[in-house]
């Protein structure tokens, strides 16, 4: 009998690292890891050498120095004596506000347009197709500039309101000027005031206690309303008769809020023309409006396509079954098609939200003071710290993106069909 030599007894040979599949993957990985580490080492040593030549070692001291510039749209208190860090924070908040506003309107518009594109009405369907093609095939930067230019060139100047050439809209409550839109602001007579957190540091912020009170009342109302619904479901399960609860549920949410608002002395502050500009009210600058409109319209075109393909992906039998049951087309769409299509629609829409957030960095083209305008814009120019500011900016965008995709993926998983 010939004994087959057992390969493992031969001892380890160097060539096994290459030819033995057990070790080869390890070898490849270690070699590539070393290569990558070397590459990064090379980059870092270059950077160190270059920075040494320039005499600019990496340091973040500039963040604590006064910024010396003003920011027009600031949602927290800020003056030019505040630090660069705080200026960056203002920019970050502006970015987030823009992204949030954009995502909401883009979703609403996108769903509406996607559904209308499948409309039986020939004219409507064609116009929606035209809209989608127009927005998808022209760069968003151009759209932002175009909307911005339309705002500036065609809207009336503030002084035209004085001479009567232009008038405020909606019972003198909204002023649309070529510097932006002024809308009424909520004010509280007997307000609770603000609380200020984090003292005097660069990250300090104030919270409106009025807003907190209203939110608490709202959530309590919603919670009780939910309880009523659960109770009604229970009764229906037990007795087969569903008690009428809509007026209870509606009033438990709305009444307390109305009472709270009354107690706080709620009223609206209207914009008024004083001096060079309107004063009072909430001032939505035309840079914000232009970005908001352009990003919403642009992203809506993509979302509309996602919605359309999602709806078309729902098997035709579903809608036929609904029609056979005598359900009206509108209710078929909202009760049968959309809930199923939603599962297909959500993942691509998440990436559209991410794109919108990233595209909000184009704010720099119209002078909206977002993160690229403050931290990676004026701060970079004034301090000359390109490396620190750009890397910080990228890190912040990365965190925002990862946070959005984490939250959205979590939501997506929760609505996902559980398959066998």
């Amino acid at each position: 009998m010939t004994a087959i030599p057992d390969p493992s007894k031969q001892g380890f040979k160097f060539s096994q690292l290459l030819y033995d599949t057990r070790y080869r993957s390890m070898t490849i990985q270690i070699v590539s890891l070393i290569a990558i580490l070397l590459f990064f080492g090379w980059l870092i040593s270059n950077t160190a050498a270059n920075l040494a030549t320039l005499g600019k070692p990496i340091q973040f001291k500039f963040l604590g120095e006064p910024s010396n510039y003003d920011i027009n749209q600031r949602l927290l208190d800020y003056t030019s004596r505040d630090t660069h860090l705080r200026a960056g924070l203002m920019g970050l908040i502006n970015t987030l506000v823009l992204a949030l506003m954009g995502c909401v309107t883009a979703t609403i518009l996108g769903v509406a347009i996607g559904v209308l594109r499948l409309s039986k009405n020939w004219l409507v369907a064609r116009v929606m197709t035209l809209y989608i093609e127009l927005f998808r095939n022209i760069p968003v930067l151009l759209w932002i500039i175009i909307v911005f230019s339309i705002m500036i060139e065609t809207m009336p100047r503030p002084n035209q309101f004085r001479s009567g050439e232009a008038a405020m809209k909606l019972f003198d409550s909204v002023a649309i000027t070529n510097r932006g839109v002024y809308i009424p602001e909520p004010l509280f007579n007997g307000g609770l005031g603000d609380i200020f957190l984090l003292g005097e540091s660069s990250l300090r912020f104030g919270l409106s206690l009025d807003l907190i009170a209203i939110l608490i009342v709202l959530f309590v109302g919603l919670f009780i309303s939910k309880k009523i619904k659960t109770n009604a479901d229970f009764i229906q399960n037990e007795t087969g008769v569903r008690p009428t609860t809509w007026w209870k549920r509606l009033s438990i949410v709305i009444l307390p809020i109305v009472i709270t608002l009354w107690a706080l002395g709620f009223h609206l502050g209207y914009p008024e023309l004083k001096g060079f500009n309107f004063k009072g009210g909430i001032y939505l600058r035309n840079s914000l409006i232009a970005l908001w409109i352009a990003l919403s319209l642009y992203t809506a075109a993509f979302i509309a396509e996602n919605v359309r393909s999602g709806i078309q992906a729902v098997a035709k039998g579903q809608s036929e079954a609904a029609y056979a049951l005598g359900i009206s087309p509108g209710r078929t769409m909202s009760l049968i098609i959309l809930p199923q299509a939603l599962r297909i629609i959500i993942p691509p829409v998440i990436s559209q939200f991410l794109n919108l957030t990233k595209n909000s960095s184009l704010a720099i083209a119209v002078g909206y003071m977002d993160l690229t305008g403050t931290l990676m814009g004026i701060t970079l120019n004034q301090t000359g710290r390109e490396l620190e500011t750009v890397l910080m900016g990228m890190a912040i965008y990365l965190i925002i993106s990862l946070a959005i995709s984490t939250v959205m993926n979590w939501y997506n998983n929760s609505v996902k069909l559980v398959e066998r």
């Binding site: 490849i28 990985q29 020939w122 409507v124 116009v127 093609e133 930067l141 500039i145 965008y397």
Partner: protein
């Protein structure tokens, strides 16, 4: 009694459908006014269209093609008694005067044939990739096209692109011979290491000495003369062409079961996809020189191309990964059962199918990238939007706006729309399902 019962003996001839159901009226009733909500929708949309067209059309039709300045153009319009927003009409004179600049930037006008030829050849080089009816021989053109294009646009000695291209021949020869002598892995290593050494140490002296022996070349063009749509196309095409191979490798890395490799690929892809392109362009314009060895100096267009390529590869990797995920598992198993090794399986079975599935995604990545090239105007390159700003700074055309944006938008629309139609055509052609 008379028999009143009546039995029809013959079939009555078919009557034409009522007028309200046929012809143009029927079509309108059916498609636009079928019920009340539909009618309301039609009226609203119709009103919108009419009011928009009513505002835009008179502006567009404006006899100002020959004006040489905004003042002259406004004069022409004032004589016609037209006024209003934007002077009552468009001033197309700016387009007549500057359209070549918007297309080619500051490229010398007597050499316009070079970028045009490069563009036409691009079409030919892409043909075997895009249309399966095209002649297979064109694939050779596709292989040498990048070098040809480089030489056509930038000019200079022909020996430089030739010696760089021969790096690939070196790689191939290295693979063949080392493979024979030392085995396949050594062959792969040689095919990577040899051309890199070739490019690093031999290309430049060799091309210089060849040029001194046999000076063949054309007039060299500095990169700062590139601009307009030519620049946009150049950056877009470079980004896509280079990102495709990198994207495939990244996608394979992300799908692989080697944990370290996978982690590196995931980090890279998620990092690039998580930051806006404009920050990467800031890196190109302000930081890239800091990361490279002291004294190295790329021009800005090249740095932008590097960053755009990295950006596009991350997106491409995700598109290819989608294609890989869409392949039935049976395909992988079939490849394994045939005893093909990893690379053979990828090359012969997986990739051809996965890439075919991902072509629409690749095209839409390309459209996105092409549109995103407008961002380079923010870092001071003279793409169509950057040039518009430049033209508006000219005293003759100070205050011009819509004409330029309209022209730039129109060209972008034509480019992107035709590409998206092509992608739809492909989608239909490749649909092999029900």
């Amino acid at each position: 009694m008379a028999d009143l019962s009546f039995v029809r003996k013959e079939i009555i001839p078919q009557r034409a459908a009522p007028l309200s159901q046929t012809g143009i009226i029927g079509w309108f009733r059916k498609n636009m006014f079928s019920d009340i909500p539909n009618t309301i929708l039609t009226i609203i949309v119709g009103y919108f269209i009419i009011s928009i067209l009513g505002n835009i059309l008179p502006w567009v039709f404006s006899p100002t093609w020959n004006s040489v300045s905004l003042t002259e153009c406004r004069g022409i319009l004032a004589e016609l008694g037209r006024s209003g927003h934007g002077g009552g009409g468009a001033c197309w004179g700016v387009i007549r005067e500057r359209w070549l600049q918007l297309l080619f930037g500051f490229y010398p006008s007597e050499l316009y044939w070079r970028p045009i030829l490069a563009f036409v050849l691009l079409g030919l080089a892409l043909a075997p990739v895009l249309f399966d009816k095209a002649s297979r021989k064109l694939i050779y053109l596709t292989a040498i096209y990048p070098f040809l294009c480089f030489w056509l646009i930038w000019g200079g000695s022909i020996w430089f692109p030739v010696t760089v291209f021969s790096g690939f021949i070196v790689a191939y020869l290295g693979y063949v011979y080392v493979n024979k002598a030392f085995g396949s892995l050594a062959g792969v290593i040689a095919s990577i290491a040899l051309p890199v050494l070739w490019w690093l140490f031999i290309t430049s002296p060799l091309s210089i000495s060849l040029h001194s022996i046999m000076p063949i070349g054309s007039e060299a063009i500095e990169s700062d003369r590139l601009g307009g749509f030519m620049l946009a196309v150049l950056i877009g095409v470079t980004g896509i062409a280079l990102s495709l191979p990198i994207g495939i490798l990244l996608a394979l890395g992300r799908q692989s079961n080697l944990p370290i490799l996978k982690a590196v690929c995931v980090c890279f892809i998620e990092f690039i996809r998580g930051v806006p392109l404009i920050t990467l362009l800031f890196v190109a314009s302000t930081l890239l020189n800091i990361f490279l060895p002291p004294g190295s100096n790329f021009d800005l267009i090249l740095r932008v191309m590097i960053m755009v390529t990295l950006f596009a590869s991350a997106y491409m990797a995700e598109v290819v990964r989608g294609g890989l995920a869409a392949l039935p598992k049976g395909q992988y198993e079939a490849a394994d059962s045939l005893g093909l090794d990893y690379w053979k399986a990828q090359r012969l079975i997986i990739m051809p199918q996965a890439l075919k599935i991902s072509i629409p995604g690749i095209v839409s990545t390309f459209i996105g990238l092409f549109k995103d090239t407008t961002l380079v105007s923010i870092i001071g390159l003279l793409d169509p939007l950057g040039l518009s700003t430049n033209i508006r700074a000219d005293m003759a055309w100070n205050g011009i706006l819509w004409e330029l944006y309209g022209f730039v938008g129109l060209i972008f629309f034509i480019f992107c729309f035709s590409m998206s139609r092509y992608s739809m055509y492909l989608e239909r052609k490749l649909a092999t399902g029900h």
